[in-house]
């Protein structure tokens, strides 16, 4: 080989191989070892330890919150507290906001009437676009304003890694990565964010499992639906404090079913398409830090709440328009919306739901947040009334007396919200992260399949036993 000639990549690799044979076999380990021992020496020289009082306190707390005995109960209590705060606080604010927004809608409508604009302009603007917007804001904003700050405080304190620590053994049993519990916790905020956060998992197999099962934890778009159903139906027979407890318990129940499903599905994937062993990992438990209240308010209110709300509004406006159009194009005396709903009805019945709910889910594919508003608008029929029912009693009577809802409908709708396909954004994120149409499609098939199967089973069982 000529020395002056520029060597090809293969020359270099071959050269490296020959040179390697001259080195002692563990040369790299030796270098790494000397690197580590030098780091140790340098650190010893630079750090002077006086006392470790604070360290003791951290360890004492950790012993409590990560103990096999008390760890899980503490976790459940914290989760319950966050959800109870959200449920009991959001209701009041929701009703207040709804009253104001619907009143504005009335005024706008009468203004348009005064100007004697054609009925379809008034209807399209106020009964369609504006109503969709008002619903989304009043249903979604209050729970977010309470849930996000509470969740961020736990995150800032350093509690999330402890959650991962507590749940690690469960995930390992399911053949998944322990860090999946962290990505799952992110999913509570937003499933798309949860999917991106799976990058912290090294093994591609375990990362795929984490991506495919992330959607089984309800994100903030779906929490309001769950909270509304829990409040309006499950806790309908109770009042005051006990009602909010019952409603929270039902939401927590659904959340736990969701966590159970991520575990079950992870296990199933490990046994079928993604075979393999769970890999070991080290998890650092960061020190507890005092949450920075100003930053928490900023992150959770401006960053998260407004971000999610803005996204919801962007989909609610066109959805409102679509619903209004569907409700106002009629064949004979049946509107298009009703016709589609009626056509979907038999299938909906099998799942313990109905056609309107399925239609609402189809319209809400871009963002799950708008399912409940969409449903309400189709049930009420556009043009009939602008001031929707603002109180939970009014919603209850609209759904039960007006549209034949039962406890089964409510429970199955909660289950369906929990399990059904990811929203458009999340599907797009899964596609981007996996770079594969196959896995993105599978994520929809798995979730939708579980949703259909579970609701079908509960409906059939409930009917067999004559509970409904």
């Amino acid at each position: 080989m000529n020395e002056t000639k520029i060597s090809t990549p293969n020359d270099i690799i071959l050269k490296a191989e020959t040179l390697r044979s001259n080195l002692s076999s563990g040369f790299r380990d030796e270098i790494v070892k000397s690197l580590y021992s030098e780091a140790e020496v340098i650190a010893k020289r630079a750090v002077n330890t006086a006392t470790d009082k604070k360290y003791d306190l951290d360890q004492k707390i950790d012993r409590l919150v990560t103990s096999p005995l008390t760890g899980l109960p503490i976790m459940l209590i914290l989760l319950g507290l966050v959800i109870w705060l959200t449920v009991s606080g959001a209701n009041v604010v929701s009703e207040a906001i709804a009253t104001v927004l619907f009143w504005i809608g009335e005024q706008g409508k009468s203004l348009f009437n005064l100007m004697s604009l054609p009925w379809w302009i008034t209807g399209f603007v106020w009964d369609g676009v504006y109503l969709g917007l008002a619903w989304v804001v009043s249903v979604m904003l209050p729970p977010m304003m309470i849930f996000f700050p509470a969740f961020t405080i736990l995150e800032d304190l350093g509690y999330l890694p402890r959650v991962a620590f507590n749940l690690d053994w469960l995930y390992r049993k399911a053949g998944a990565h322990g860090k999946q519990s962290l990505t799952m916790a992110m999913g509570f905020g937003c499933n798309a964010a949860g999917v991106i956060s799976t990058r912290i998992i090294d093994s591609p197999r375990e990362r795929l499992i984490a991506i495919l099962t992330n959607n089984f934890v309800p994100c903030n778009g779906r929490f309001p639906t769950l909270i509304m159903l829990g409040t309006v139906f499950v806790a309908a027979g109770f009042s005051g404090f006990s009602a909010s407890l019952i409603a929270s318990a039902s939401v927590i129940g659904v959340v736990l079913i969701g966590v159970g499903f991520t575990l079950f599905m992870s296990w199933l994937l490990t046994k079928t398409v993604l075979k393999g062993e769970a890999s070991a990992f080290t998890l650092e438990l960061p020190p507890y830090r005092k949450p920075n209240i100003g930053r928490i308010l900023y992150t959770s209110l401006i960053d998260r709440s407004l971000f999610v709300l803005w996204r919801a509004i962007q989909t609610a406006v066109p959805a409102g328009a679509v619903i209004w159009i569907l409700a106002n194009i009629s064949f004979g005396d049946v509107s298009l919306a009703r016709a589609i709903a009626n056509w979907l009805n038999p299938f909906g019945f099998l799942l313990g739901l109905d056609g309107v709910i399925l239609l609402a889910y189809i319209i809400a594919i871009p963002a799950n947040e708008i399912v409940v508003p969409t449903m309400m608008m189709v049930y009420m029929g556009a043009g009939s009334m602008i001031a929707g029912p603002a109180t939970s009693q009014a919603i209850h009577s609209l759904l039960v007396d007006g549209n034949g809802w039962t406890m089964l409908t409510a429970v199955n709708l909660m289950l369906f919200s929990l399990l059904h396909n990811p929203c458009g954004t999340t599907i797009a994120t899964i596609y981007k992260e996996t770079n594969s149409l196959k896995w993105a499609t599978l994520s929809v098939v798995i979730t939708l399949g579980s949703a259909f199967l579970v609701t079908f089973l509960t409906a059939t069982i409930a009917r067999l036993f004559g509970w409904v």
Binding site: S7, P9, N10, D11, I12, I13, K15, A16, E17, L19, R20, N22, L23, S24, F27, R28, E30, I31, S34, L35, Y36, E38, A39, E40, I42, A43, R45, A46, V47, N48, T49, A50, T51, D52, K53, K54, E155, D156, L157, L160, P161, K179, L182, C190, A192, A193, I196, S197, R199, I200, D202, E284, P286, P287, R289, N292, T299, I302, D303, F307
Partner: protein, 283 residues
């Protein structure tokens, strides 16, 4: 740049130590206005050492921070101006080492290796210095221009730890600056030091692992070959070590001619992406 300068917010950092310190008045947070910059600074470090907090303090951005390792999984970019020099700051995902395979760690490693930052700031946790130094030593293997920021000094004090940054700097051969990113303590000194390392008024002599004579010989054989093949490669030594180690990925990058391309890609500004991310605060 005029609009950017006009819009730039005068920073209001709590600085009980030096209210009159000129350094603060010389810092302008430039947020995501990084379409023009003079220097590139990389922020590296172990997970959960406060890289994103330092990033936010300097740029005025609201990159999501959180008290758990692995919060930052992509790289975020922002800008600041100090002493009339515009810096682009790249916040990298936290890594324990530069040898691992997970995607977030690869993002960090590729940027330090091939992005050719003008200075790499390794943010370390004063309360767990030994573990943090492992990464510092690995960064020193591949670049001279390093400043070690010893962060979380307040936490170290609470735990009764005293960190002698002068002894640290002497041992490592690069500047070590004590900071508390959350309160802004020490940030002005850090900025001045970064500026010094960038314009070569501070010269560094990074400590490197020597290894055996055979090892040194092997490196000295390979480095010129690699430099011939990929002119301008910033860290032929590191590539040589990886090849000796039989790293398949580096072999592939070499044969497929990806190495030069990797360098180019790392230097391209990711303005649009990071702009979107910092506005929405999501990752």
């Amino acid at each position: 740049m005029n609009t950017a300068e006009k819009n730039a917010i005068k920073v209001q950092l709590p600085s009980e130590k030096c209210d009159t310190c000129p350094a603060y008045t010389q810092l302008e947070q430039m947020g995501i206005k990084i379409d023009q910059f003079d220097r590139v600074i990389a922020l590296a470090g172990n997970p959960n050492t406060g890289k994103s907090t330092l990033f936010n303090t300097l740029t005025g951005l609201k990159q999501h921070t959180g008290n758990w390792p692995g919060k930052t999984v992509t790289r975020a970019e922002g800008g600041y101006q100090f002493n009339k020099v515009r810096y682009k700051l790249v916040d990298l995902p936290g890594t324990y080492s530069l040898l691992s395979a997970s995607q977030d760690e690869e993002v960090a490693r590729d940027f330090i290796l091939f992005g050719q930052p003008d200075c790499t700031v390794v943010v370390t946790d004063a309360t767990a210095l030994e573990r943090n130094l492992n990464l510092v030593m690995q960064v020193l293997e591949i670049t001279d221009k390093v400043v070690v920021a010893v962060n979380l000094m307040d936490e170290a004090r609470r735990k009764g730890l005293e960190v002698d940054t002068r002894s640290l700097a002497r041992d490592l051969g690069v500047p070590a600056i004590p900071v508390t990113a959350r309160t802004g303590e020490g940030v002005s000194t850090l900025l001045q030091t970064i500026a010094g390392v960038v314009d070569l008024s501070i010269l560094t002599t990074p400590r490197r692992v020597q290894g055996t004579a055979e090892f040194q010989h092997a490196i000295s054989e390979l480095v010129p070959m690699i430099e011939d093949l990929v002119p301008g490669i910033p860290n032929a030594r590191w590539v040589a070590i990886r090849l000796l180690d039989g790293d398949v990925k580096v072999q592939q990058a070499l044969t497929s001619g990806e190495l030069p391309e990797l360098m180019m890609r790392q230097r391209r500004a990711d303005v649009q992406f990071s702009g979107k991310m910092s506005i929405s605060g999501r990752q």
